[in-house]
């Protein structure tokens, strides 16, 4: 009897301890699961490149720092900083168009002293939902028509700036993060259905402003076999890798498509194909399950948050994270056109790890700074 009580006290104390250092143990646990599994796949996808794994671990460590630092920051400060951040990043986006550097005809980075580069559009993925959440933080929900229009303008302006770089993938994700906040704020279903009905028109308009290479991607997506050696190659090879993995996969480091370089960008955007080839449908299922764990925790934090700002921000960030994963797996498996979206926390690469980890820092902050009731 007394022993049982002792245990319950200990559990409570521990929970209080995590609360004290502002770490959400469930969220960080599922993140580590995802990251750990991802490193295994990356090791195989990179051709057993230990140096690449080291760099990736270094990035995760840096991302974890950002995450933990942000977790210490109470949501109210974030809320107050939101509009200023929004304006600042928007100005930087204009700066990118004026002074940006980049490759392949796109300007995405601002040069920093010391040869470093900085991609403001990446940060906009977080700042956009912050701005929308801030807008609704002291307004009654659901939003009025006038408020909806205002928010849409807030969303569209930076999205256009990013699309102009051009960076279709990021601009869509930024737009989506703002729209999610709007949705959680209670955007009327009739608006949502109306927008869905207008989607073909929007698609057509989008087609008009798209660059040729972007149009080519869509065309190739619709019929990859039309250009088997050119832009269709990637999707044909990734489908082959996924399909040939079967249920159980060919085994770690045994995927021929991945190991023999038939799979392009196997360690970045197409890394899920490596997992699918070597670990089969079971491996993919486990990965998606790990993502769903993270997302479930994020949505729970959102639902349980104290105020509208926290709820909208947490929910929007979580759903954007889901969109990342959905768009990536969708494109690699051939149900969505190829847009350059990495698989979050698994693909090799820099900037997105930091922003994604920052997202979870914000989520943990929201969860752990609740006033005791």
């Amino acid at each position: 009897m007394s022993e049982n009580l002792y245990r319950r006290v200990l559990v409570f104390a521990n929970a209080r301890l995590w609360q004290l250092v502002h770490i959400d143990i469930l969220l960080i646990g599922s993140l580590f699961l995802l990251i750990g599994g991802g490193l295994f796949v990356l090791y195989s996808a990179s051709g057993q490149n230990a140096a690449m794994i080291e760099r990736q671990i270094f990035r995760f460590t840096a991302g974890l720092m950002v995450c933990l630092v942000l977790a210490q920051l109470p949501p109210k400060y974030m809320r107050r900083a939101s509009p200023a951040l929004y304006i600042f990043i928007s100005l930087l986006l204009i700066g990118v168009l004026l002074f940006g550097v980049g490759a392949k005809g796109a300007q995405r980075w601002l040069p920093l002293p010391g040869g470093l580069r900085f991609q403001p559009s990446e940060i906009m993925k977080i700042v956009m939902p912050m701005m929308v959440a801030w807008y609704f933080s002291d307004r009654a929900l659901p939003p009025s028509f006038k408020q909806i229009v205002t928010v849409l303008i807030l969303i569209v302006a930076p999205v256009l700036l990013i699309a102009k770089q051009p960076d279709l993938g990021t601009s869509l994700l930024v737009a989506v993060s703002g729209i999610f906040a709007l949705f959680l704020a209670g955007l009327g279903w009739r608006y949502i259905l109306g927008a869905a009905a207008l989607a073909p028109i929007a698609g057509f308009s989008l087609w008009q402003v798209m660059h040729d290479y972007q149009k080519q991607r869509v065309l190739t997506f619709l019929n990859p076999e039309s250009d088997p050696l050119g832009s269709g190659w990637n999707i044909i090879q990734s489908k082959t890798a996924i399909g040939s993995g079967g249920i159980y996969g060919k085994g770690w480091l045994e995927g021929t498509q991945a190991q023999l370089d038939f799979l392009p960008e196997s360690h970045t955007d197409f890394i899920i194909a490596v997992l699918a080839e070597e670990f089969g449908m079971l491996g993919c299922g486990l990965l998606i399950l790990a993502y769903l764990l993270v997302i479930a925790r994020g949505l729970y934090i959102s639902a349980m948050a104290e105020d509208n700002y926290a709820r909208l921000l947490a929910g929007s960030l979580t759903l954007t994270f889901f969109v990342y994963m959905f768009v990536n797996i969708g494109m690699v498996s051939g149900i969505l056109p190829v847009v350059g979206v990495p698989l979050p926390l698994v693909s090799y690469g820099g900037t997105s790890i930091i922003t994604i980890m920052a997202t979870f820092g914000i989520l943990m902050s929201i969860q752990t700074h609740k006033r005791a009731r």
Binding site: I242, G243, S244, N308, G315, F326, G330
Partner: protein
Amino acid sequence: MSRQHQQFRNYRQEQRLTQNRVIAAAIFVLLLASTLMARLFYLQVIEYELYQTKADDNRVMLVTEPPPRGLIYDRHGLVLADNRPIHSLTVTPERVDNFVDLKEELSKIIDISDNEWENFEDRLKEYRRPYQSITLKSQLTDEEWARVSVDLYRLDGVQVEAQLTRYYPYGEAFAHAVGYVGRITASDLEKVDKQAYQGALFIGKTGIEGYYEKALFGEAGFRKVEVNARGRIMSQLEQQSPIPGKDLHLYLDARLQQYAYDLLGDYKGAVVAIDPKNGGVLALVSKPGFDPNLFVRGISVADYSELRQSKKLPLFNRALRGGYPPASTIKPFMALAGLDYGFASWTERYFAKGYYQINPDGRRYRDWKRSGHGWIDLERSIIESVDTYYYQLANKMGITPIHSFLSLFGFGRSTILDLNGDSTGLLPSNEWKKAKYKEPWYPGDSVNVGIGQGFMVATPMQIASATSALASRGRYFYPRMAETLGDQPVEFEDDLGGEHDIILKDQRNWEKMVKAMRKVITDSLGTARRLQGTEYVIAGKTGTGQVFSLQEDEEYDSEKLDKRLHDHALFIGFAPAEDPKISVFAIFENGGSSSKPADLTKKLFDAYLYDKYPAHYDYLKGNDNE
């Protein structure tokens, strides 16, 4: 104001609104996640086999290794068709970004002729396994090889490959007998196993090389390899070594072949020598020949059109395909036919005038000797080659017995066992004339056939094989080129391949005919008396083939005639007459008098029987211990 407004807000309701939206989003998330799982299920379970095959097709490549080709030897172990290592410059098109740049870069290093480049571009368009290299320049010299090797590292897709190529050391005299290999064409590939010939440089086209292609080729080896996306071989999965082609030993005597070729001099013509004991072809000469090595790596257009357009027809195999009137060389066979069918006898005497008439007032068929031969018998008709005797004999017999008797000796049909494309010549018959001309056979037709003219056409190979049957007193062997293949004697299918005995009603007639043919040389009136003075006995028969028919009263005068219209000079012979080891047929096209082929034949006998070759043929001696 704003504070007051906030007080009226229903926070609980707003929280519920957002929470409901979160639940809606969660359902949305689950739905989309299920879509992904469904897609993975579709690819990985339903379409698994399709993609598994695709993945294997991607990575597994079958590389064929051509086997070394079997060598061809003469009867003394001299190599007539050899394999020589060469280095060739090859290009893997998949690894080349820009062919124009490549051509420019390569031209700085070695000479690439327009012809070589065009051939390369042609082959680029042909069917080809991905990542299979194409030869751009073959048989690099040592200097070219060295120069290219230095720069190989920066020429993507270019490599130097060591290959074995066919080489014919003795060239043109052997071209029609041994044949040659040439580059494989699309139509060749339809006849063979495409897979096995993948990577092979050439295929046997003519002669021995063509007929024994399958055995000489051997069996291709395979390597199943795993390649990466750039076609580089990463590992070997399975291997089957190539089985080298079998070596072929011919009956052909290289020295005899070359000697016969040289003895034809500037004449066009053919010589076929056969061992009467087994039908083995000792020499098969068609002059002029050509350098078979030109064909091995793909003959140039200029060289080919030169060969094609030459009036001497060097590419035409006269020994197998040349259709000649056998002329008087047919007389021993006609005489035997007459004896066997009872239209002639050794004792019966005949008065040979200078001409023969079927009817008292009819056309006069002239004898070569205008004054006639007087009273003669059958033996003398052979010795002096009396035309009128055979006119009357053929007229008496009619074509049917002639046809059936001569066909026993191989006339009118394909004779050589192991060479393709020999002509059947023409052994005329009643039925043939009806079918061809819709006319009956006339006695005059028989008269002409009696001296091996008229409709009768034979190839040198046929006449030689018939002579060989005569030499062996009725044992007929189908002529054959190859004695052993690998370690096994070459065997042929029974319907054609065996031998048969020609049984005469009186078998003594063989010996009597040989005796008559001996007297062609020994008798003071014999048509080949110039061949006297040998330490062995020769039996033979001369022949003079008309290229065109003289008018009845026209005199043949070689001085006035274009050389093109000169008579063909023929000779058949075998030696030693009592136990023949070699029989020969020789024809000098437009050679005029039959003394030329007779002299040639005697020299071949001297050479073959007593090793009397001019000293400079020693290089063709071969090594019997081999």
